[in-house]
Amino acid sequence: MIHLPHLAHLAIWQVLFPLLAAPLCLLLRSGRLAWLIATLASWASLAVSVLLLRTINCNGPLTYNLGGWPAPWGITYHVDALSAFVLLIVSAMAALVMPYAAKSVSREIDVENHRLFYALLLICQAGLLGIVVTGDAFNMYVFLELSSLSSYALIALGKRRRALTAAFQYLVMGTIGATFILIGIGLLYSLTGTLNIQDLAVRIALIPTSAVGHRTLITAFAFLTVGFSLKLALFPLHLWLPNAYTYAPSVVTTFLAATATKVAVYMLLRFSFSILGSRFVFEQLTLGKIMLLPSLAAIIIASLVAIFQYDIKRMLAYSSIAQIGYMTLGISLNSHTGLMAGILHMFNHALMKGALFMVMGAVSYRVGSVYLNDFRGLGRRMPWTMAAFVIGGLSLMGVPLTAGFISKWFLIEAALETGWWSITAVILLGSLLAVIYIWRVVETAYFNPLQEIEDDEHTEAPASLLIPLWILIGANIYFGIDTSVPVDMASWAASALLEGTMR
């Protein structure tokens, strides 16, 4: 790779593209033009994250000092293996969701709100990318609130009035979570006098376990863990998620389900491993034991609840809670394989849940709602959409030759390494429960033909919905067969995290 002096600026452009495009959308009168700008900005941001990934692959981690202020004083942006990987997930999903949005949004949101919608979606994207790219703890909090506030507003744009109460509930729980994170960051600052993540790591390592400050550190970690668990919807703290995902517009659900919780997992990883260090977190604060039980409970209980849902979007939302359980389970196993499986599942879950929620958007575009009854006969009327649902569902179950299989495989390998057979049993049970809830929909769509057929009314979804959907489905199959790229990335990120450095 050619070494360009401008390459360091990539880190800031990652955030700037969507952040600058958002006010531009607001200034424009036409929703159509706003969509065009949003799409171009999200593609530009995808190009930047691909370039960033290539750059750090060749030259190692990249640091960018904002305004030229050197590291501990100014805000730095820092991109390492893990952040480049998560950046790619977020910007790739945004780049696919934007073209999809054109038709879906025109059906679900009033015309005069279109430009506001795209502006909010871009701000949300900028916030999520900012969380990942920044190397400053307080800056991370600001970006977190930026993305959260815009997602509350986006969820409230849903057609049904319950979207409003769902958004309010999310606002209350999200703000409590963010405030907990703010307290945690404040305590870390009071202990070290720095907010730079690398500097924090160096100074915290110097605190002896017997010192008074050690107690502050444990308190800070407790606040941070609860805050992140709220944001990533770890099992007992997941209550905001089902309503928010069910009543939000289809595009919003697709984007948030594929990215927002992953970024929260990223924050948990960054604080636990890069700042506090894996040995401290696992040996003294027993993060593994704290996370293990909620993760297992999430896999079983959320999957069981999903089986009894009649609103399919809500069913997939509960399934998301279960899948987040797989990610935190991987982290809690405290091994290289476990951590790698967790990171890999962030990527694979974005692929499969993104695709499945896009199917929901296509069905609601044609049929109007996504209750189980609405799926009757859709196997014949919307063959491409339902075929995509079947493949996405297979990936969710973890059938071989799909992306879902790969992350489950590494997760089971990690569980076997620890020698706890019961964990392996829970992982397999979770997959079996996924078979049940996906099968309910497949059975209704293919083996339950609708009596009266209005031929011209329910036909295949338009191409602008199908193409992004099938790109994701293609990725599900491709990364199930040729696993080298995501597995190498996840493995590299996991080793870097376990070394406790941001390399």
Partner: protein, 122 residues
């Protein structure tokens, strides 16, 4: 032996912050009225501002002004951080109030249990 009362009064700001934090948290959980919930949420996040500001304050110190007469300075960084956090808090309250107004338009009430009854009756 006078170290304990000194400790308690020296930590006065922190006691206030913790008291406000718990009060706000309790209001958020226990009240069903959406506006009261928002007030609780505000109290909760404002207490964290006090926590931050107290961290930067040094007794008898001034603002960091380069001068011959002053030698003890308070740390301005937590104060600056809190300016940002206040803006975030204002934005959160604004979004929350806007949502409450929309909920009132749609449901005709802002009591959580009445909203639940209206949703279930559909």
């Amino acid at each position: 032996m006078d170290s304990i009362p000194m400790n308690v009064s020296g930590h006065f700001n922190y006691w206030v912050a913790i008291f406000l934090m718990m009060t706000g948290f309790y209001v958020v959980i226990s009240r069903g009225n959406l506006i009261k919930k928002l007030i609780g949420l505000n109290l909760f996040s404002t207490s964290v501002f006090i926590l931050y500001i107290s961290l930067g304050k040094i007794h008898g110190a001034t603002a960091p002004i380069a001068s011959e007469t002053f030698h003890l300075y308070s740390n301005p960084l937590p104060h600056v951080l809190i300016l940002t956090a206040i803006v975030v808090g204002v934005a959160t309250t604004a979004v929350g109030l806007a949502l409450t107004a929309r909920i009132y338009e749609q449901y005709g009430t802002i009591e959580e249990d009445e909203i639940r009854i209206k949703d279930e009756s559909l």
